[in-house]
Subunit: 215 residues, 2 copies
Amino acid sequence: MDETSRFKLTVVDHALRLFAEKGYEATTVDEIAEAAGISRRTFFRQFRSKEDVVFADHEAQLAQAEAFLGAATGDPWDAVCEAVVGVFERFSQTRELAARRYRVVRQVAALRDREIVTVFRYERLFTDYLRSRVAGVDDLALIQFTAAVTATHNYLLRRMVRGRSEASPGDLRAALAAIPRLGRESAGELVVAVFPRDMPPGRIADLLAHRLGNL
Amino acid sequence: MDETSRFKLTVVDHALRLFAEKGYEATTVDEIAEAAGISRRTFFRQFRSKEDVVFADHEAQLAQAEAFLGAATGDPWDAVCEAVVGVFERFSQTRELAARRYRVVRQVAALRDREIVTVFRYERLFTDYLRSRVAGVDDLALIQFTAAVTATHNYLLRRMVRGRSEASPGDLRAALAAIPRLGRESAGELVVAVFPRDMPPGRIADLLAHRLGNL
């Protein structure tokens, strides 16, 4: 983490503490600036608004994930999973801050909405990256993969900040590895179709047609 | 569709046409009311704001999907897929309106954000429903399923309103059927593990542990 990011994180830390103590609406930018020992002008050089402070670390995370993917050279599907694990690891390191954010966000409808929009940006980043790196893969397979990957990360992160789980980055990695990559190139892959014994033949036909259409 | 819904849809239709012609910001509620032949007061009895008009049919869709799930009696995973197909079918029937909305929404950042939040409500509806109906299934499997299901629907819907796809409800049904239900009860199911020949043993072990942990 560079100097600017560390500085921003200190301000974020003070702001979230004040939001938790006094409420989000009741806390002014002047109070945040005073608590962080900076001027109002310096605050607005770093953040566009009070709301931006709440999501500043997401912005940093998104930038880091994008940089990671830009430099990745191996299997693109693995790269997306590793980018996600990287985000999770960094949130684990600033767990108290993430937990405090969670408690503030869930009480303010506008912040909850903004969080949903922010989370969606990770999904779009991963989709755009995969599209640019894998050829000949059904776009739907790609979309399903990034949706499941992002949802998995968010689920484990939410449990962590609520103190309901001690999931490690390794647990996340295993959960991500279990997400199928339907569009994966089939070289050297043996396809075995497995269905519940009671599945209707029509559905089996649909599944097979779809699966084989992707290979 | 009941009388009130049909009436609302007429107002939505006029509003989206005006937004497309004059721009969203430049169009006033008075202009919408006049075009729809209703009073300002009647408008505000149906919609809380100008923004609400844009997403009114999503509200109706969500209510219908919720009612469908509430009445569904068969396999809960199938019920979610059928609820999604129902939403898609209804959007197909008002395709011009959905296409006009798409063109308006993509030009206004606030509306794009609101759409992301709206879309997320479907995902949460499906997750809550599945949680209430299936027992003993890993929550993660459930989350991954509803994320992939919702993303699949949104992808095909977006292509439809952009005029880039003629995907039918049957195509959507097949694409949804291909999404694995990892947490599915294993009674009568034969498990065969299939991996690419070049997969590292560590990753195979992770995948097996995760998959078997869910059964």
